[in-house]
């Protein structure tokens, strides 16, 4: 059973399981923080853009375009290795959190903006005609519809960005890939990498099922 021993050696599993479980927690909490703050920031930016003030829209569009164009890894390396030279030292996990949040926010802003502008103008007018302020129409009429229409792309983006926590291995965040990678180097066995793959499955497969449920739950006919 050479194959089995190479990829799922029980002794190696036992040796590295505690470290890997700690790494799973690091991946999990960074992912959760990124998704919460990325969705919130993206929605906020789309809301601000809806005011259609040039001095607000212009920086938002620029931000969204830059963050979607640049590879997140490049941004992380610049922040992590570049900023110390001007005396700013950020924690590795914070750099990972910050960049992924900004990238997710950029995509989320674009997703919301696209549907907010595609809703019938009558939805805005119906709200305004009943005495609701611009902000109230945005919050109670436009945004909830936009959210429901966008659940599939938002969930997809959130899952994708959560998997990008693996980039943390490059700047030393003790998440799954980083821990499994060094375990592989020390043990000379592929088993820790198999464990890493299984760990991702355990985290993201339920997330996938949950997203299916949410999509069905909030589906409605237009």
């Amino acid at each position: 059973m050479d194959f089995f021993n190479a990829f799922l050696n029980p002794e190696i599993i036992a040796r590295y399981l505690p470290a890997l479980i700690r790494a799973v927690w690091v991946t999990l909490w960074i992912s959760v923080l990124v998704v919460i703050s990325g969705l919130a920031l993206g929605a906020l930016l789309a809301g601000l853009r809806a005011y259609q003030k040039r001095w607000l829209s212009w920086p938002i569009v620029l931000f969204a375009d830059l963050m979607r164009a640049l590879p997140p890894l490049v941004l992380m390396l610049v922040l992590f290795f570049g900023l110390p030279s001007v005396g700013i030292i950020l924690a590795d996990w914070f750099v990972l959190y910050l960049i992924l949040t900004l990238v997710l926010a950029a995509f989320v802003e674009e997703i919301f903006w696209a549907t907010m502008t595609s809703l019938p103008r009558g939805q805005w007018e119906a709200g305004a005609a009943t005495g609701l302020s611009f902000l109230q129409v945005l919050l109670h009429v436009i945004f909830p519809q936009s959210l429901r229409m966008n659940i599939p792309p938002l969930v997809n983006r959130s899952l994708t960005i959560s998997k990008m926590t693996a980039y943390g291995s490059v700047i030393g965040v003790k998440e799954i890939v980083s821990v499994a990678g060094s375990a592989q180097a020390f043990s000379g066995s592929a088993t820790p990498l198999t464990m890493a793959a299984l760990a991702y499955l355990i985290i993201f497969y339920p997330a996938m099922l949950l997203s299916r449920y949410i999509e069905n739950r909030f589906h409605y006919e237009h």
């Binding site: 009558g122 939805q123 609701l132 009429v141 519809q145 006919e221």
Partner: protein
Amino acid sequence: MTAAQPLPTLEITALEKRFGETQVLRSIDLNVRNGELVFVIGPSGSGKSTMLRCCNRLEEPTSGAIHVSGKPMLGIPRKELDRMRLQVGMVFQGFFLYPHLTALKNVTLAQRKALKRPRAEAEARALEMLDKVGLKHKADAMPSELSGGQQQRVAIARALALDPKVMLFDEPTSALDPELVGSVLKVMRDLREGGMTMIVVSHEMQFAREAADRVVFMDGGVIVEEGPPEEIFGNPKSDRLKAFLSRVSGEAA
């Protein structure tokens, strides 16, 4: 105006609207008395809908004045405009119910957020209004579960629940299947009997004959002729109105 005359509920004075080079409305003057139903007819592109939409400033007038119960709609800050809009209910051709909210919540939203009514009061009022349009039993239905006629009646309830001084109807039955038109017209007739002040832009000439106090004929952005329905339909004076009426009756025949 003498002191003895009551203030018109809606007063449109020298209203002009230009879209770029195109003059859509030119010096429109129209007063609507309390409890009056004014029916606006005219060919498409005559500016009737634009005039209506200027009354609550969904369309920004180029110049002129609009007063609701003596208070100005123009030249006021947005906050004040939001308060004034509560007094002007509007019903759209396309209904525009909020598709993510039940019928009841469609009717309570602006009551809660704009009028700041407590939830219980807003819901009681919403049920009362839904009952008025014959849809109390559909309070928990989503808009997608309602027919076009039912959606439009919920939209009417949504506007009425804010206790407006005047109701604007912008072609309320034009998007409806013929067999559903009657239910909406019935609600409008009930409203009129209840003393609501209304401006109706519509092509339902039969309804105009039966229910209107006054019919206004617009063409080319001006009011060409106005008078009681018997006069307008029975004894049209201008050639443009005669031509319009013969075209409309030609379609009906």
